[in-house]
Symmetry: C2
Subunit: 188 residues, 2 copies
Amino acid sequence: MPRRGLDSRQVIDAAASIADRDGLEAVTLARLAHSLGVRPPSLYHHVAGHDAVLRAIALRGLGELTACLQAAALGRAGPEALAATAVAYREYARAHPGRYAALQRGPAPGDSEHEEAALAAVQVLSAVLRGWRLEGEEMLHAVRVIRSALHGFVSLEAGGGFALPLDRDRSFERLIETLAAGLSPAAG
Amino acid sequence: MPRRGLDSRQVIDAAASIADRDGLEAVTLARLAHSLGVRPPSLYHHVAGHDAVLRAIALRGLGELTACLQAAALGRAGPEALAATAVAYREYARAHPGRYAALQRGPAPGDSEHEEAALAAVQVLSAVLRGWRLEGEEMLHAVRVIRSALHGFVSLEAGGGFALPLDRDRSFERLIETLAAGLSPAAG
DNA sequence: CTGCTTAGCCTAAGCCTATTAGGTAGACGC
DNA sequence: GCGTCTACCTAATAGGCTTAGGCTAAGCAG
């Protein structure tokens, strides 16, 4: 019985791939073990269990999403930054539906590593909103508005919620325009 | 062994209650059967299986949600109607988190009953948007914008996505204002 | 090279799901 | 009372997660 030389990184890689290809619910330890050429109990040497795998997928997704958002926002400001960030958000979710789904299960209470990763992603949005010169709590509310809109769109789109044969790209553009226009009358 | 006189209605009632109280993933046939004083296989006389139970919860949720939205929109127009409908949407999701979660799994392809129930809920939003005098496809895009925003907010809120100690009611008000202001410059 | 330790992988087993097959018994029409 | 329907049952299959315990390959000390 040859050794595979697995480590937790490879396990999470495989899990994220399965999630993206066949859906998050397809990420079972049996399936994961099979894809790695190993028996399910062997996975416990690398990950703590099924929940830990899902959390690790979410954590990886958060890191990647944050990087995508930062790359999109870099060098841009105002409505242009908002649009670019929004598009990057949607593209990430479409390219990695399984990771995005994993990310919807929020951090467990007290899981500070997970909480901080989520915060990092949110802070990109916060930076993007600088152009709107919102003050204090209004900025935080605005971030929630943006997050809600983006997450809602992406989530409905992924779940087949947009059944009509109507251009979804156009709907997304309208969403961004609505946000940009509605966030503040003082916006540029 | 006394008969309980179950029917599928009671089974779905119990399933929806479990979902709201302990989360959708707590709706197992074992748990459901136990709550009804019956063994799991007996449930198959009333429902087709686990998937069918989840679908039935979603269907019930859609019906109830549609009714709530209609009640909120009735006798109102324009931004007031939008605000009332949005509040009703959020309140339903908060009062029935399990049913709302069930509803996020969209209709299976070809499940026309489910698709029509979803359409009915969406049409309330469509009616609410009449005040914005949007033409043709713009109306449909606007409905998607509203749905995205509402669903996103409610979904993040339910998943603990709003971690900061910041008033969520106020955030929701800002969301509604943003939508109302941004939907169209021609809005009332 | 020999022998010890570590750690990766295994099988076996327990307990939880969902589901199917087939039996029992209460309730209703005649 | 008799037959039938059906609500419920037990038993069993299949597959999920997880733990316990054993085997062995790999790496290191001497």
